[in-house]
Symmetry: C2
Subunit: 295 residues, 2 copies
């Protein structure tokens, strides 16, 4: 990432990562392996954990004094829980150096961008990011330098932000190996509600629906469709609440599709049912081909 | 399976498999490997396919003259599509030898048992079976001698059938390595609607809901929850239609659970939402433990 490489003219500048879990830790490892920054600094509330991350070689230094560290940064990436991101950015942004940029890694974007726009006003230096990579595991112990290689990262400019910063953030993610898609925050949120958040809600409803006595008959179909229902309830509650508008829209679309299938069964219309199942199969097969061609 | 072993007193008797696909072919291979019958005979409509199955070593002989072959059988297993099973059993049962038994391998049971009860009346020799094993693949080329090892097989006595035949059919599946559960046909159908058929309907509705343009953002959550939507639409249409009563009941339960989750989002109740997601997670984790302990 050219803009952030230290040069004679610019101070070296550091990469500051706020919140050093799986996501933040993997950014640290990936940036370090690629020598994108002179220093990588971790910021958090738990000195013992940050010390462990430094000992593990993820970061060069850590600090509990976020204001001082952010003032030295070329790039700040906020990797805190999705419900904390807007507050964290609003608190940190006034301390940024003149050329510095701040981004995040949250799973929802509209609420975050709107709150930051409202609090910081025109010309702020935040650009939203959502790298679509992760794991059921959490904690920097599971961080991987290659987590973002080949992953999609959505970059969402905020309405009141500086437009010229969007390509800088895009290049940052590209330099970590990700494939960047730039879209508006509402577009992102609806697309993610459809492809990620709705499947989680449906998986949870499905797991709850099966009576305990019937579980011994459950096989691979149940296993696949409900696997993500085992995810962290607090994490998903935050995501659903942050993205409630798009979630309700996605859920209404799903309910309509399901009701159409149910009606074909109720009305004993096998041809209609078969046509609907064929449409579902085609959509799924189409995704399979897309994802194979991406590999 | 003692009852079916040839002895001095009884004629040897054969195993007759009607419909030689993945399920029927795997029964043939498993029975042959265990030397449970003197002869294994395949019955179907396509002589060329049956000849291939014989050449591949699945069966000892084949015939297009089902009546003659069935008269020589100790056990007939009907492995035709679920919508054909009742008709096939009703047509073949009058030709069975005195001590012979007939069963099936269909995914739904109540409709099949009721139609057979109605057509054959008291004292018929049909017992329902549903081995919970299979694959996305079809055709006897994918048959495996170990398909039923460790699998659950539900055995459902028909109301008008001879009760003493239920243990004979149970022992047959046990001898192929399956773990047998005996339950009533309505119990089976509702449990399978919940654990197998409903997940398929939901996966299909979910796959259809995601707009094509958003597919590039779909990741593992979408992959898992919609995998079974790629199944054969004709096969699943038959299953849903055969099991429509239980399906509608299972779907109503799911719709209610989903609506409860959606209401918690709509009403901005994170604590309630988190409690519901935790309940879904517990049910899923509980199944995980069950299925691990079964291995």
């Amino acid at each position: 990432m050219k803009e952030l490489t230290p040069s004679e003219k610019q101070p070296a500048g550091s990469l500051v990562i706020v919140g050093l879990g799986l996501i933040g830790g993997s950014i640290a490892l990936a940036a370090r392996q690629r020598r994108l920054f002179k220093h990588i600094v971790g910021v958090g509330r738990d000195a013992a954990r940050l010390q462990q991350a430094q000992s593990a070689g993820l970061i060069d230094a850590f600090s509990l004094d976020e204001t001082a560290v952010v003032a030295q940064a070329r790039l700040v990436v906020v990797c805190t829980p999705v419900s904390c991101i807007a507050d964290d950015v609003v608190r940190l942004a006034p301390h940024l150096a003149e050329e510095a940029v701040i981004t995040d890694a949250g799973s929802t974007k509209q609420n975050i961008c709107q709150r930051i726009d409202a609090a910081l006003g025109a010309g702020h230096r935040f650009v939203g990011s959502h790298p679509l990579a992760g794991s059921e595991k959490s904690g920097f112990e599971h961080a991987r330098a290659d987590l973002y290689e080949g992953a999609t990262c959505v970059v969402t400019p905020a309405a009141q932000g500086v437009p010229a910063l969007t390509p800088i953030i895009s290049e940052f993610w590209t330099s970590l190996g990700a494939q960047v898609q730039i879209m508006s925050a509402p577009e992102h949120d609806l697309a993610l509600a459809m492809t990620s958040h709705l499947p989680h809600l449906v998986a949870s409803a499905l797991a709850s629906s099966v009576p305990e006595k019937d579980l011994s008959l459950a096989a691979t179909g149940f296993a696949d469709t409900t696997r993500i229902a085992a995810g962290n309830p607090e994490l998903w509650t935050s995501i659903f609440m942050e993205n409630s508008g798009a979630m309700l829209q996605a859920a209404a679309e799903f309910q309509h599709r399901l009701e159409t299938l149910i009606a074909a069964i109720r009305d004993q219309q096998p041809d209609r049912l078969s046509a609907l199942l064929t449409a579902g199969k085609r959509r799924r097969d189409g995704w399979n081909q897309q994802s194979v061609s991406q590999q």
